[in-house]
């Protein structure tokens, strides 16, 4: 009987939303293989979160608590998740492809002697003949990969798997030894310089407004921010403007940044480099505003407005305000 283990992600006592997408992927995998799934939760003082996860249809929630797990570090968490994989007898390990998931999961795979497929966007086949679709070459190519090891490890892209809804019921909660060898740890968490924002997270937002080089300078980004705030959306950016230091790195939408799939994506002054398109073309409705009619962004846009953004974005914002008010 195969078993799936979902690696839950929590930081500062809060579960990451992406964890529920990972559970969604685990449910798909369970349907295809007849496996059941467990969830591993690591940290310190996290009993409440285990209760919260108990309503998501897992067989067992393995809770790993240890002083070394109070703050996330790759070394300690990989050891703890490895202990959970052993306890559950997992043949599949699934984590979200977040910063933490990307950082930690390969170490778990190494400990398990397992192959890993990163950034999986689709699970194909059934039973013992599964393959995984994952973007390569900055999303220009979709690779179909298979894993040849007895244990298969996946990180999954949140925007491609529906977040699992609670199904009620309650999973068994089992506290197990984290199995972290404190003497082996040579890294410590020092701190987080958090980007404070009242806006929704890029990867969760229903509306994303992104800006590119066409904005000409950093101060003009406020045009994008005003529009985003009016629509209750998140603000994104291209790699070029992140590189230029106009906006924080974690605003970057693209293959090397965040992959988003909101209901509405508005690209302002963005030409549409392949690597940017890879991060947003799953959006439901795409609007492009650019004065260059040849810009590649128009090839993926549902609605294109060829115009000077400095004229039409303020107009759009004020007319939206008028509609709202």
């Amino acid at each position: 009987m195969s078993k799936i283990l979902v690696l839950a992600e929590q930081q500062f006592g809060k579960l990451a939303n992406a964890t529920f997408s990972a559970i969604g992927a685990a449910r798909q995998l369970a349907e295809k293989t007849g496996a059941s799934y467990d969830i591993a939760l690591a940290g310190q003082g996290i009993g409440g979160l285990a209760e919260q996860l108990g309503a998501y249809g897992a067989g067992t929630i393995y809770v790993l608590e240890d002083a070394s797990l109070e703050k996330y570090t790759a070394q300690a968490y990989a050891q703890a998740f490895h202990s959970a994989a052993k306890a559950s007898g997992a043949t599949f390990v699934v984590a979200a492809a977040t910063a933490i998931g990307k950082d930690c999961t390969p170490r778990v795979a190494a400990r398990l002697g397992a192959g890993q497929a990163s950034d999986v966007v689709a699970i194909n086949g059934s039973g013992g003949a599964l393959t995984y679709t994952r973007p390569m070459w900055a999303g220009n190519v979709l690779g179909e990969v298979k894993i040849n090891t007895d244990i298969q490890v996946l990180t999954v892209r949140g925007s491609d798997f529906d977040a699992a809804e609670a199904t009620g019921g309650s999973s068994a909660v089992e506290k197990i030894a984290a199995g972290v060898d404190a003497g082996s740890l040579r890294m410590t968490y020092v701190g987080l310089d958090a980007v404070e924002s009242s806006r929704p997270a890029l990867t969760d937002a229903d509306v994303v407004i992104s800006g590119g080089r066409g904005l000409k300078e950093a101060s003009n980004f406020k045009l994008v921010e005003e529009l985003a705030d009016l629509l209750g959306g998140a603000v994104g950016a291209t790699r070029a403007v992140v590189d230029a230091g106009w906006v924080p790195n974690d605003w970057q939408v693209g293959q090397t940044g965040k992959v988003v799939a909101p209901k509405l994506y508005i690209a302002v002054g963005i030409s549409g480099a392949i690597q940017h398109l890879a991060g947003m073309k799953g959006s439901k409705t795409i609007v492009a505003i650019n004065k260059d009619p040849e810009a590649p962004i128009f090839q993926v846009a549902d609605y294109g407005l060829v115009a000077d953004l400095f004229e039409v974005v303020p107009e759009l914002t004020s007319k939206l305000k008028a509609r709202a008010g």
Partner: protein, 250 residues
Amino acid sequence: MKILVTAKRVTDPDSKIVIKPDGSLDLDGVDFRMNYFCEIAVEEALRIQENLDDVEVVAVAIGDEEATKEVRTALAMGADRGILVECDEAKLDSDLVARILVKVVEEEEPDLIIMGKQAVDGDNNQVGQLLAEYLGWPQATFAYKVELEGETAAKVQREVDGGVETVHLTFPAVITTDLRLNEPRYASLPGIMKAKRKKLDVFEPDDFDIELEQKVEVVGYKAPPSRQAGVTVDSVDALLDKLANEAKVI
């Protein structure tokens, strides 16, 4: 102090990759260059070298004979010595690359390994983490700023979801680079001339007793679904009308 850096050969991100009808990739006529994240790794190592006495920077690539060029590029940027582990790249996966690097590390015994967070062809983002785990070393992936504490430890700021995280590492350690860490230098002409005389050792996986058995195998490639271009609207009012009445998103 010794720093090992990677110099992976990848397709030029500006080259178009064509998928053949049989699901394989057509790489004829595609340009190659060093993985940009590896260039950032080489640059970071050279900056450390400039700030400390007696730092040796060793550049390693794993791939076919052509990958010698990327090792030479790293040498031309300023690395001291090069290593190529020659093998058919199609037979590798992230795990094999990590296990070959473990052998190189056992030979070289570096204090620090700096490498790209991912290669821009496979986009796996695994090798640094796998290598660190196999070695039992700490890691700082997605580095944004590296501050050395002498030659034995570092504070690394990392790009994470929602901000920049700082971790403290005691060496030996693995650091993987993110975009904003630095702006890699170009190789100078004298640098290129000098690089030709620098030592470059070539090994094969056999030399390390590694069998090329893949844990993860690519069974096919396909193009991503194309998105139909939509309509052009001629005014903000027309756009608002479409968004409200057709797409129903506002």
